[in-house]
């Protein structure tokens, strides 16, 4: 079946040529942040398990968390958690049949991104204040 295509119908969009719309970026990000959040909850268990052990073991784990790199990762996790949470709520609205209009989906995409960013910033402001 190696015959060349002779008609001029458009091919399906190839990822290297097709500019993904914002809604598509949010869709793939939902999955990516989901994987990141799985790692986050794994690390949370490691932290709690070490706190259930001796102070020496905990201090080693907490030392990594408290370093600038650890804080950067932690900030990343607040972003991925809040993003997945906000976009997840967006998905729940779709599940019950609301928000499918193109303009609504675009608006909810912006609302989702803004809420995730705002929640992350508020969380770290609370952390800085306490």
């Amino acid at each position: 079946m190696a015959t060349a295509r002779t008609d001029k119908r458009p091919l399906s969009p190839h990822l290297q040529h097709y500019k993904l719309p914002l809604t598509a970026w949010l869709s793939i990000s939902h999955r990516a942040t989901g994987i990141a959040n799985s790692v986050a909850i794994m690390l949370l268990v490691i932290l709690i398990a070490s706190a259930a052990g001796t102070p020496g073991g905990y201090d080693m784990v907490a030392g990594i968390v408290d370093s600038w790199f650890g804080k950067l990762v932690l900030f990343g996790f607040t972003l991925t958690l809040y993003y997945h949470l906000c976009n997840g709520i967006r998905h729940l609205f779709w599940d019950v049949g609301y928000g499918f209009k193109l303009q609504t989906a675009r608006t909810s995409a912006f609302v989702c991104l803004a809420s995730a960013a705002a929640l992350s910033i508020i969380t770290w402001l609370v952390a800085a204040a306490s």
Partner: protein
Amino acid sequence: MSHQRTPLKQVKGLGSAKEGTSHFWSQRLSAIALVPLILWLCFSIASLPGMDYVTLREWLSHPFTAIMMILLIVAGFFHARLGLQEVAIDYIHGDASRTIAFVAITFLAAILAVTGVFSVMRIAFAG
């Protein structure tokens, strides 16, 4: 509309995957549970005065914290397992490797969830 399914199959409504909508439903159910739990987790850790051994243990030994944390660990790993399973279905082709991935995801989630719950209880009951 033609009915190629047997009446029994239609009544059961489980489809070709034999599970019906249970994966979908479980994922949404745990998603709803995780909304307040994640907000609680982020804001309570942010409100801690520090992350040292004594502070963290004192926080975790509070009954409300312990209960919320156990709920979060259980719902979190349940939700993560379902999500990662879906990722495996989409990207891992071949029955053998997909089955291995399923087993690995499930075992890892179970081991970590039990470890997490046990650790919280150990801290909480130590007082």
